[in-house]
Symmetry: C2
Subunit: 183 residues, 2 copies
């Protein structure tokens, strides 16, 4: 049995998830992960990072000795990777399906990634896979949606206008392959 203040089963907070994701990403980008870089990435001050590092360390999500380089543990890596995956999928949905620009989509995804359960995320994936694997329907459909957004809502015009559109979608779909496939 676990002792009273066992911390291991308490769920992670959104903030913790954000830090783990940031550390995961920085680890891929640079040789070493610095407090300063985490702070910059997350828009907080350095003392805030230090204090969070202590929490993450207490939960065995990172290896951390003060003034030394820090590393994700296996457990921390798993979480970081999972949050990164969520982020990527949701951002993909926002950019490729809803056609929201990258910067905004990235910000929204960062907030949404803590709100969406695993099973809902799977539905998002299926949804995007569907459009990518059923191109005759999916691609046509995305074209329709853009048409609709740009030229109004009359049902009759949907079908007519759709014929004229065929370009620009391969790019969106290509991005999506990556996203859906990463699972």
């Amino acid at each position: 049995m676990q002792n009273k203040d066992d911390i291991s089963k308490k769920p992670l907070t959104p903030a913790m998830e954000d830090y783990l994701e940031a550390i995961f990403n920085l680890g891929k980008e640079k040789k070493v992960v610095r407090v300063k870089d985490i702070a910059k990435r997350l828009g907080v001050k350095m003392p805030t990072v230090t204090s969070m590092l202590k929490s993450l360390s207490k939960r065995k999500l990172i290896d951390y000795e003060k003034y030394e380089y820090l590393e994700l543990t296996k457990k921390g890596l798993d979480v970081g990777k999972e949050i990164h995956r969520r982020h990527h999928i949701l951002r993909g949905f926002l950019t490729d399906i809803l056609n929201i620009d990258f910067k905004n989509a990235d910000e929204e995804a960062c907030k949404m990634e803590h709100a969406v359960s695993a099973s809902t995320l799977d539905r998002f994936i299926e949804f995007m896979e569907f459009i990518q694997f059923c191109p005759r329907v999916g691609l046509e459909w995305l074209k329709y949606f853009d048409e609709y957004r740009l030229h109004g809502q009359e049902p009759d015009k949907c079908l007519a206008r759709m014929k004229e559109f065929a370009k620009g979608f391969r790019v969106r779909i290509k991005t999506m392959k990556e996203v859906g496939g990463e699972k």
Copy 2:
């Protein structure tokens, strides 16, 4: 100019938004809004509600005198209504498009409603309107998606199988009308 600890321009916290939404909904369901009911609805204890009521009152979002009935101010009503609208739209997307069951969709929507900006929410609305206003594309497309989810991913089968399906979608679309139209 505003004095130093002016509170009026500080953004509302997600928790505050949740309370305002709960009060808004309870106000529509019952004659009076009780502390006990808010607590139950949000899964917190009564003292937590009392303390939040004080904060909301300080921000002029509710009219509140202890032991008396509480009411949303104009400002509080606007927020409550807006959060309710977001909730409704996102839940509609989750149930009608991703086909997630109501209970789960409702929970997820409750978390997502704080994460999504106004402009992103508008895209969700356009997206659902599109499916509802372009039924020749939208309805077909939803059928395809269900097919895809239930029977696998071979592109060839998408078109073939789609022909067999035509029922069960009117319901989903009907719900959506309500959602999209509420704006």
